[in-house]
């Protein structure tokens, strides 16, 4: 280490010392790169390296390029200095210099390089006088530049050139060009339609005619690389329409599929199968005839049984992909035994693939076999896989259970064998099913009782058994060993071993056992009361509260019966588990099988008998009262609301003063609490939003104006995440996700310059099949001029389409533009209306104003309509610093020190629009430290409409009480043509504070 440190110092000296020979320079540079690789940051000599690029001789230039491309990244400032030199090298006549420059740009070139060099690189690529060595580098260099800035390749001009490039004879240049084509078509396959037949020709040339120079055959196979790339490119085209072309392609594919055998030589094997697997992928993509498909499945079935591990691995992986193809599932099922054997493969990579495949191919017909196989495997599986394994087993058991008792068996076994990996979601779900199905209750309770007899059980098992026995043990009363007392003893034995999170559940169980003991057993009662007494002073608030409440309740005698009665049925919810699995799989993308899962029908067995929730409000939610409110938001991550809710529970805490009705609700909520947590936040909050709109007296028309929910709930496809939250997040930042559902993700990236906005919509297809009939329509409000570039009708599988959207702000207004977006996936037509975050604050530019500038301005804008003042009540209480942060995020610059009163804020900003041009806006907020819910706001600008709109905008952001948008405070200068003004009601509805206010 020490020696290395010295070496580094020496390095600096030597490198900076002038007059080194090129050989010495080179030697030091490589040493430097070597220690860089070993993990020592080399942050010196960058400038010297960059300046060496312009050296006239090859050795020095080479050193310069090597260091630059190894140590600098594309955003490095020094790199900019070199653009000109690099360009000179590229357009110069010296081929070796061209190669050096292209290599550097191809490795680290950024946007600026793309803009200044793309044209020259294109010229090199199509030049006939260049050697292939240079041209192939130019092709890949262009690919890099295209990735950095797609605009540098002008589609109209380039398509023909690209097609010509595919006629190239030199395989090196052709391989690079094919990579370039893959990148181009993955973005826009329509434009490059004419390249499709050329790709087929290349394949014919290689695979059929074997027309290729000797040095490009690899173990006797004509350039497997190029074959693979050509087939990859073809997969980006949705289909092949020309029958001749299709026929010749299938001829080639057939030849590849049939002509490949497993041979002795490993390398030859690999190469041949690289081509074969790509051909398989292409066949799947092209939806070949059934005959060819079953041929493919047969081939894959052969592969998963061969000795070669690589082939086994890919066989399983491709079989998983094959599941997406219709009509072949049955032929895949024939290989089930072999796949289950693969679960015991010595290679963990293969075991994982086998697990994925089993998970994907599972349906009602084979669920029992597969899940039992998985459970068996769980005890021997390696640690790294157990979590995934148990999650998958749980999901399959839930989706495809032939009957419910089997489901309960499976989950209890799962908890028993791998309790550490069974998340709370899983046991919550069991409890829900048992509660909702009366037939199941005695069985589940008996099972739970059996597990408690085991000597050492997992804590999760304690939780679920305690809960089930607390609720349903009275159904077992006649069986041996199931008297209340015995059950109490066996559960209480576990208490010393469990953590604090489990104790509340045990306390509830004790209370319920006590209640079910008829006639009362004084001895048991005393035992349980002692326990309650002991926990009355527990440091954990949850335990303490329960102990106190149960103790008080159990002294009430008969009244307890109502309060501690069985839990009401749960409203039917989508399983959080399955939801989570879907989301997780969408993230990790490739697992197409999961998507299949999502579309399939679940087993009928698990349809809950109670159908209350389907029509009308779910019975439990309104009954639950304030306490659920405390629990629910904790999932949506809103700490503020929680604190308010907790304040609410305070008066409820003293039980004696309250009439018998209230605590019962309270308690129910309490018991429901842990279960309510698993509810998907969107679903849980929704009924309350409705409640707010009713209680708050907001006219139902507001719901219509709140554009988003309309789209949101009429579709069968559920969005992922809350659309409103996403919109509000995007109002504050410039890039992020606007909308997401299982099929598509719409991202947005915006740049705002004065009154102009440049947005790019990223439409990403998350599936392996294309999305059709894609339509995007922008409905701009009157004050915005918006131009959306053409949106392609089809989004190819796994592709992302970028649609630029230009925005011009004409006038100040708070109205919001709406994107009407629809697409078709399979038979599903999905239509959503999304608000676009082109809101007022985006056209603001923070500007700092000194006292000398501020006061004359402030005074010159005297009184309405240029200066408006309003006392705003019902403000979300925020500390001053947080309010300042909020203003900053709205691009209002806080000017400290202008107002002598520390409770006041002064902010300034510039607003840009066509009508107002750049307009200075000044804002003063006076807050009352004694009452944070009200403040006085003064807004001043040189334009009356702007002053009004800005004031209203800020009010909306600060106020939390839902007010109708066209409320009593009629605007003095009404905003023009209100297309949609959803901001205030929607904001109010999602705001938890507002919901609470509405409920009160």
């Amino acid at each position: 280490m020490k020696r290395l440190g010295r070496a580094v110092v020496m390095e600096i000296f030597c490198f900076l010392k002038q007059g080194l020979t090129p050989y010495e320079k080179k030697k030091y540079v490589w040493k430097m790169l070597y220690i860089y690789m070993l993990g020592y940051d080399v942050d010196f000599g960058h400038m010297e390296a960059v300046s060496l690029i312009s050296a006239p001789k090859y050795p020095e230039k080479q050193v310069g390029y090597i260091v630059t491309s190894s140590l600098l990244n594309e955003n490095h400032d020094f790199l900019r200095l070199a653009i000109n030199t690099v360009r000179n090298d590229i357009i110069g006549r010296n081929e070796t210099f061209q190669c050096l420059a292209l290599t550097m740009v191809g490795n680290i070139g950024g946007r600026e390089f793309a803009e200044s060099l793309a044209a020259d690189v294109q010229k090199l690529l199509i030049s006939s006088s260049c050697r292939p060595l240079v041209r192939k580098k130019a092709a890949l260099c262009l690919l890099r530049l295209y990735r950095k800035n797609p605009d540098v390749v002008n589609i109209d001009g380039w398509v023909d050139r690209m097609a010509q490039l595919l006629d190239e004879r030199d395989i090196g240049v052709l391989t690079s060009s094919m990579s370039l084509l893959v990148a181009l078509v993955s973005n826009n396959h329509e434009a490059y339609w004419s390249c499709l037949p050329k790709c087929v020709k290349v394949l014919e040339r290689l695979a059929r005619n074997q027309d290729i120079p000797q040095e490009y055959t690899y173990y006797g196979i004509p350039s497997p690389w190029l074959q693979v790339k050509a087939m990859r490119a073809l997969q980006y085209f949705p289909t092949i329409e020309d029958p001749n072309c299709r026929r010749s392609l299938f001829e080639v594919l057939q030849r590849i599929l049939m002509g490949t055998d497993v041979v002795k030589n490993v390398n030859k094997n690999n190469a041949a199968h690289a081509v074969l697997f790509e051909a398989l992928a292409l066949v799947m993509h092209l939806d070949a005839e059934k005959e060819m498909m079953s041929q493919c499945v047969a081939l894959l079935g052969k592969f998963i049984a061969v000795r070669e591990p690589n082939i086994r691995y890919l066989g399983l992986e491709n079989m998983t992909r094959m599941l997406m193809v219709t009509d072949v599932q049955d032929s895949i099922k024939r290989h089930q035994a072999q796949i289950i054997t693969s679960l015991k493969d010595p290679d963990i990579s293969i075991r994982r693939r086998a697990l994925d495949l089993l998970y994907g191919m599972c349906d009602i017909s084979n669920a029992k076999d597969i899940v039992e196989e998985l459970l068996q495997y769980l005890s021997t599986a390696d640690f790294a896989m157990r979590e995934e394994l148990s999650l998958k087993a749980a999901i399959l058991a839930e989706k495809f259970a032939p009957d419910l008792s089997w489901y309960v068996d499976v989950i209890l076994q799962l908890i028993d064998k791998a309790g550490d990996f069974v998340s709370d979601d899983i046991w919550f779900r069991v409890v829900q099913f048992v509660t909702n199905n009366e037939d199941l209750q005695p069985y589940a309770a008996a099972k739970a009782r059996e597990y408690l007899d085991k000597p050492a059980i997992h804590e999760t098992m304690v939780k679920v058994s305690a809960y089930l026995l607390g609720e349903f043990s009275h159904l077992l009363a006649r069986r041996p060993g199931c008297s209340p007392k015995e059950i109490f003893i066996i559960i209480h034995e576990k208490l010393p071993t469990v953590s604090t999170s489990t104790i509340p559940i045990l306390l509830s169980t004790y209370a319920k056992i006590l209640m079910h003991t008829q006639p009362p057993d004084p001895e048991l009662q005393n035992q349980i009361w002692t326990i309650f007494n002991k926990y009355e002073s527990c440091i954990d608030a949850e335990i303490q509260q329960r102990a106190v409440e149960y103790f008080a309740l159990s002294r009430k005698g008969a009244a307890v019966m109502d309060i501690l009665a069985e839990m009401p049925k749960f409203p039917e919810r989508q399983s959080a588990l399955i939801k989570k699995a879907e989301v997780a799989e969408v993230d990790s993308a490739d697992q197409s099988a999961i998507k299949l899962r999502a579309q399939q029908q679940t087993s009928n067995a698990l349809v809950v008998t109670d159908q209350h929730s389907a029509n009308g409000p779910p019975p439990t939610v309104p009954a639950v009262g304030p306490l659920t409110l405390v629990k629910v938001p904790s999932t949506s991550g809103n700490a503020e609301h929680t604190s308010e809710g907790q304040a609410l529970t305070q008066p409820n805490g003293t039980l004696t003063k309250i009439d018998p009705q209230t605590p019962s609700e309270d308690l129910l909520g309490d018991l429901l609490g842990p279960l309510a947590i698993e509810g998907p936040p969107g679903a849980a909050v929704q009924p309350q939003q409705n409640a707010v709109s009713e209680v708050g007296g907001v006219p139902s028309a507001v719901d219509g104006a709140a554009i988003v929910p309309v789209g949101e709930y009429s579709n069968s496809v559920q969005p992922i995440g809350n659309i409103n939250e996403r919109f509000y997040a995007l109002c504050l930042k410039d890039s992020g996700v606007l909308y997401e559902d299982p099929y598509i993700q719409i991202g947005i990236k915006a740049e705002w310059r004065a009154q102009h906005g440049h947005l790019v919509l990223f439409l990403g297809n998350k599936n392996t099949s294309p999305l059709d009939s894609v339509q995007a329509l922008v409905l701009p409000p009157a004050h915005l001029k918006m131009e959306l570039s053409l949106v392609p009708e089809t989004i190819p599988p796994r592709a992302q389409v970028q649609c630029p959207l230009e925005v011009l702000n004409l006038r100040p207004s708070r109205d919001v533009a709406v994107l009407d977006f629809s697409y078709k996936f399979g038979a599903n037509m999905v239509n959503v209306k999304l608000r676009l975050p082109a809101v007022l604050n985006k056209f603001l530019q923070p500007i700092s104003v000194s006292a000398e500038e501020f006061f004359p301005q402030w005074r010159s804008l005297s009184g309405p309509p240029l200066k408006l003042q309003e006392v705003v009540r019902g403000v979300r209480p925020l500390p001053l610093t947080e309010m300042a942060n909020l203003f900053n995020s709205f691009r209002l610059m806080i000017c400290p020190g202008l107002d002598p009163n520390p409770n006041n804020l002064v902010a300034s900003t510039t607003f840009y629009s066509e009508s107002t041009r750049a307009m200075l806006c000044l804002i003063r907020i006076e807050t009352d430290p004694a009452d944070r819910t009200q403040l006085r706001m003064t807004v001043a600008s040189g334009d009356p409409m702007l002053t009004f709109e800005l004031k209203e905008f800020m009010k909306e952001q600060l106020v939390s009480i839902p007010t109708a948008p066209h409320g009593p405070t009629a605007p003095p200068t009404p905003p023009v043509a209100q297309v949609a003004q959803p901001t205030s009601p929607v904001k109010a509805l999602t705001d938890p504070g507002a919901m609470l206010a509405g409920l009160l």
Binding site: L140, W225, N267, N310
Partner: protein, 166 residues
């Protein structure tokens, strides 16, 4: 796209590490360490593929090949074919073999620059540039000639006698 190329010896020391997306030095070291951590736990005669999602993020794949004391590791995304990348490793090693005549770890340590030159002729900015080892050798020799024309850099001979005679 190929995200990274690494050569790690069986002791866990990196002998070559090239990342085609910019990463900080610390991140690079962390990745090398975690890759090695998984590699060294794998038995012989298993597949050449490894789950790399946890190390390199979703949609990453990792293919490696074990030769004597060295692991050759390629990390790439779903746009590449796994077996084809495996072929590429073979091309890389065959080219090294031609260049150094029966390549060993020492050749790679002492001729770090040559190793880089060869890799740059095979993989270019994360894309495959050339797959014919004959063509690669031609390009590398051309560069060596240019380098030699201005100085006397020669390969470090493997034998002691060769060293003396230099």
């Amino acid at each position: 796209m190929i995200k990274a190329v690494m050569v790690i010896n069986t002791q866990g020391k990196p002998r070559l590490a090239k990342f085609y997306d910019f990463l900080t030095v610390d991140k690079q070291q962390e990745l090398i360490r975690s890759v090695f951590g998984v590699l060294c736990s794998r038995a012989e005669n298993v597949s050449n593929f490894m789950e790399a999602d946890s190390i390199f993020g979703p949609d990453s794949r990792l293919v490696y090949k074990h030769y004597a004391t060295l692991y050759f590791v390629f990390v790439f995304d779903t746009c590449e074919n796994e077996l084809a990348v495996l072929d590429l490793i073979q091309v890389f090693v065959e080219t090294l073999d031609k260049c150094f005549r029966n390549v060993c770890e020492l050749d790679i340590v002492f001729n770090y620059s040559k190793l880089h030159t060869i890799l740059d002729e095979i993989v270019f900015g994360g894309q495959v540039l050339e797959t014919s080892s004959a063509e690669i050798m031609k390009a590398v020799e051309e560069i060596s000639k240019l380098e030699a024309s201005s100085n006397s850099i020669t390969l470090v001979p493997k034998t002691v006698s060769g060293w003396r005679n230099r």
